[in-house]
């Protein structure tokens, strides 16, 4: 009786505990076969023609970048396995995976997430001929990642309500704008702007501006797109957004339906921050040749033109022009800021919460 029970016990444990393991082993084979082409296709760290497949962790939306990645596959024959997510969460995943990461390339929406992966020592240095394509301000100092496109903070303005638009953030504190400014408090680009403001003016200076801004009762919206729509509809007079939202609206509704215009900020004003999306190659990648081929493609004329025409961002490669009526990147004179200094967003959120601009 006793041994009988014991045997049954073992059986139960085996069933409930080991089912997953058994399933795991079963699946192991299929996983290694699917990865095989990628691993065997190209010698690591060789300059031989890249092939096989690469896994891209992308903080950039699949909707926006997949067509470009398909062009890459068509041009090179390298298959792309796409894993989407939030840039910061993907950075956390990469940090946790360490050397075991299946990722070859990290394509981030934001320089901060790239900096976190760089600081963990997970990137491999990019070759200088790729780094040279992009101005030094838009890549890592150590050459671990490179910007692929830029976005500029602007004021989106309804000219019917605002004949003479402000060009500095301090003008926004004027009582005439009370209740007439739209912003997206939870948006990452807005928060990056505030972080930049803290770097440029110090925490006290930034707090002073934020308190003045809060006193002017700005109207909070869920997303940048909603701010833009509210300005276009005349619900508010102007809004703090990224430059490309206006062009998305024009592309969707036609120029005739759009009243709003972009107002770029004065030279050096903190409101005119330029941030980038960028890309880095994982040191643990077993197909670095193919990973580098993707970076090269994103920085190529074809890739840069795609960003200019499809996401309305600033191409960072010299000689590729942005959307027709955008001022040239070189003429913008953004505030003098090192993008890697924008990594203290936790403190920014704390400050925003304290002055009552983040949450309810």
């Amino acid at each position: 009786m006793r041994t009988h029970t014991l045997r049954r016990t073992v059986a139960i444990v085996a069933v409930s505990g080991l089912t997953l393991v058994a399933a795991a082993c079963g699946d192991d084979e299929s996983s290694s076969t699917t990865e095989a082409p990628g691993t065997s296709g190209a010698a690591p760290d060789s300059t031989a023609a890249a092939s096989g497949s690469i896994t891209v962790y992308s903080g950039r939306s699949e909707e926006l970048v997949m067509p470009l990645l398909e062009q890459f596959t068509a041009a090179t024959g390298i298959e792309v396995e796409f894993r989407g997510g939030d840039s910061g969460e993907l950075a956390a995943q990469l940090l946790t995976e360490g050397d075991a990461s299946p990722a070859d390339v990290f394509f981030s929406q934001d320089a901060g997430a790239l900096g976190a992966v760089e600081n963990a020592g997970l990137f491999t240095a990019l070759p200088s001929e790729l780094l040279e394509i992009v101005p030094a301000a838009y890549e890592s100092d150590a050459g671990m990642w490179v910007g692929t496109s830029g976005r500029v903070r602007v004021l989106v303005v309804n000219p019917e309500l605002v004949p003479d638009a402000p060009t500095t953030i301090d003008e926004l504190l004027d009582p005439q704008w009370k209740g007439k400014i739209g912003f997206a408090p939870t948006n990452a680009s807005w928060q990056a702007f505030v972080t930049g403001l803290r770097v440029l003016r110090g925490d006290d200076g930034a707090r002073e501006w934020l308190e003045g801004f809060a006193a002017n009762e700005p109207v909070a919206y869920e997303k940048n797109g909603a701010v833009r729509d509210a300005v276009n509809a005349g619900e508010v007079a102007l809004g703090l957004v990224n430059h490309y939202y206006l062009y998305e609206l024009i592309a969707a509704e036609g120029q005739d339906a759009v009243v709003a215009v972009n107002q770029f900020m004065a030279a050096g004003d903190p409101g005119g921050l330029v941030n980038v999306a960028g890309v880095g190659v994982l040191a643990s990648s077993d197909n670095q040749a193919a990973a580098l081929a993707l970076v090269e493609f994103l920085l190529s004329e074809e890739g840069q033109t795609y960003f200019a025409n499809n996401t309305y961002e600033y191409p960072l490669r010299e000689g590729v022009s942005p959307q027709a009526d955008l001022p040239a990147l070189a003429d913008l004179a953004p505030p003098a800021l090192d993008l890697t200094e924008l990594d203290s967003l936790a403190e920014t959120q704390e400050m925003l919460a304290e002055v009552g601009l983040l949450t309810l």
Binding site: M1, A24, S31, E81, D86, E89, E222, A346, L358, T359
Partner: protein
């Protein structure tokens, strides 16, 4: 004979239950391993600094406040709804039972988005309470209804013969008897509210999960996120212990020969319109409104290029993963639930409570924990379906454990004692008596896990096998770029297919009642 029998005894729990339950507890505690490792990676002083901030305390307070208000509202709505569909003579109450269950099919992020895109003014505490209450009251309603159905009306008759009014019987005796079920449901609601990010983010109510997500998304600091997440584990422990207290000593099993007599519905009389009003006041915002909004998206963003084959493929993977998760979670929950229902003492209690702790962690923390465990122990299945299913099990095990425990508790242990006395071994008793007794709970638990898995986003996003999409990840992909034309069909498919197990959950409880074995069947 009528009375409160002992349902749990302080005997040495059999190894045949303890060992598999320990496996379940170990799996459920996997995130704790990660949290401890990460939190201490920078030394204790960092942990103390991080936790010893005014803002940490302030945000914990905001989360606790939200949790308390939502839980109380869910108990009030859930118990009232359960009583109406089980005990009153309200016309159409069977249909209403299904309707009251259906809000479970609507993901909180979808509900929150439906409300906030309709009226921005809802943002803040009010909106967060509204959305979280409307999506989670069924967690109280379902176990409360099941418990009400199982109560022996003979007890009510005794109370009334002693001169109590119907009203006092309803409030005093009935509610006290189903207290364990209410407590179990309230615990699930409370843990869910603590862990929620989707609804509080959309409603811009800054809760504790904000700083955790902020540490990932804005601070790029997973170690900080891990430290902060331990606060949620501590809160979960407090809640789990509080629930054990609230559960009290009351038991719901009946003994006695024969089947319990069916309840005579309590006539509502002039209160009937009030009951209708209550039902409408709950169902309109919880069910009709979000469905109407999805309908608006579908029609106003009429799209020409929605690929139905893609919707079909996502639906298939959603259903496959959800079914696997439901089976795995139920298998693991069975020994834990039976153990908790039948055996008192520190070991069963500790094993059961371990399965609840991770339920207060936001999805992204569980996801990154599984990444940690995956690359350390399960490298071969990293980013393959078994690890994803494991993630779902960690997240949703309590849903199955609670259901199994409740249904076993509602049956008398005397049946098992009789079987033992007739010479059946423990395993045979488990298979032939306890198993069938737990069947309604197993079914309900599996349906709840199925449902929760279908709606789940953060863990799916991080752990899904490369190249497969689920309805939730597709919905996320399109709403992230405000592409509502393409998001609409996925939202509709998600809600429509989640409605199936939900409706079954509402309907099958009735059938399950009749299937419950009683002594006279032996």
């Amino acid at each position: 004979m009528i009375g409160f029998p002992r349902t749990a005894v302080r005997t040495r729990p059999p190894a045949s239950l303890v060992l598999p339950a320990a496996v379940a507890a170990l799996i459920a505690l996997a995130p704790i391993w990660y949290l401890a490792d990460r939190s201490l990676s920078r030394g204790w002083s960092e942990v103390v600094d991080e936790l010893w901030r005014d803002r940490t305390a302030q945000l914990v307070w905001r989360s606790v406040l939200l949790t308390a208000v939502v839980t109380v509202l869910c108990v009030l709505i859930g118990v009232t709804a359960a009583w109406l569909v089980e005990r009153s003579d309200l016309p159409g109450r069977r249909l209403l039972r299904v309707a009251f269950t259906l809000p479970l099919a609507i993901p909180s992020y979808l509900s929150a988005f439906a409300w906030i895109s309709w009226d921005r003014e809802l943002a803040g505490f009010t909106g967060a309470v509204l959305v979280l209450t409307l999506v989670s009251f069924p967690y109280v309603m379902l176990p409360a209804a099941a418990a009400l159905r199982h109560l022996d009306p003979a007890l009510d008759d005794v109370a009334r013969s002693l001169g109590r009014t119907r009203w006092r019987v309803a409030v005093g005796l009935t509610v006290r008897q189903i207290r364990p079920s209410i407590a179990a449901g309230a615990l699930l609601v409370a843990l869910y509210v603590l862990s929620d990010f989707g609804a509080v983010a959309a409603m811009r109510y800054e809760a504790f999960t904000w700083v955790i997500y902020g540490a990932y998304r804005a601070g790029f600091n997973p170690a900080r996120a891990a430290i902060l997440a331990t606060v949620l584990v501590a809160l979960a422990l407090v809640l789990v212990l509080a629930e054990a207290r609230a559960r009290g000593r009351a038991t719901t099993a009946r003994v006695g020969a024969g089947t319990a007599r069916p309840h005579t519905p309590v006539p509502l009389g002039r209160a009937t319109p009030l009951a209708w009003l209550f039902s409408a006041a709950v169902l309109l915002p919880a069910l009709v409104f979000p469905l109407w909004r999805i309908g608006v998206w579908l029609t106003s963003y009429a799209s020409t290029d929605v690929d139905l084959a893609d919707v079909g493929a996502s639906l298939r993977s959603t259903l496959t993963y959800a079914a696997l998760a439901a089976v795995a979670a139920t298998l693991l929950a069975f020994p834990v639930g039976v153990l908790a229902a039948r055996h008192k003492g520190p070991v069963p209690a500790a094993l059961e409570r371990s399965t609840y702790v991770a339920h207060a962690l936001p999805g992204i923390v569980v996801a990154i924990s599984l990444v940690f465990v995956g690359v350390k122990l399960l490298r071969p299945v990293y980013l393959e379906w078994p690890l994803l299913v494991l993630g779902y099990v960690v997240l949703f095990l309590p849903l199955a454990v609670g259901s199994v425990r409740a249904s076993v508790e509602q049956s008398s242990p005397r049946m098992e004692e009789v079987a033992r006395s007739l010479g059946s071994g423990p395993m045979r008793v488990l298979r032939r008596v306890t198993g069938p007794l737990a069947l309604p709970g197993i079914g309900a638990g599996a349906a709840m896990v199925l449902l929760a898995t279908m709606k789940e986003l953060p863990v799916t996003l991080v752990l899904h096998p490369t190249g497969t999409d689920t309805l939730a990840t597709q919905l996320w992909k399109y709403t992230a770029v405000s592409d509502y034309a393409n998001a609409g069909p996925y939202a509709l498919a998600l809600v429509a297919f989640a409605a199936v197990p939900t409706a079954l959950l509402g309907i099958r409880q009735r059938a399950a009642h009749h299937a419950t074995p009683v002594l006279s069947d032996e």
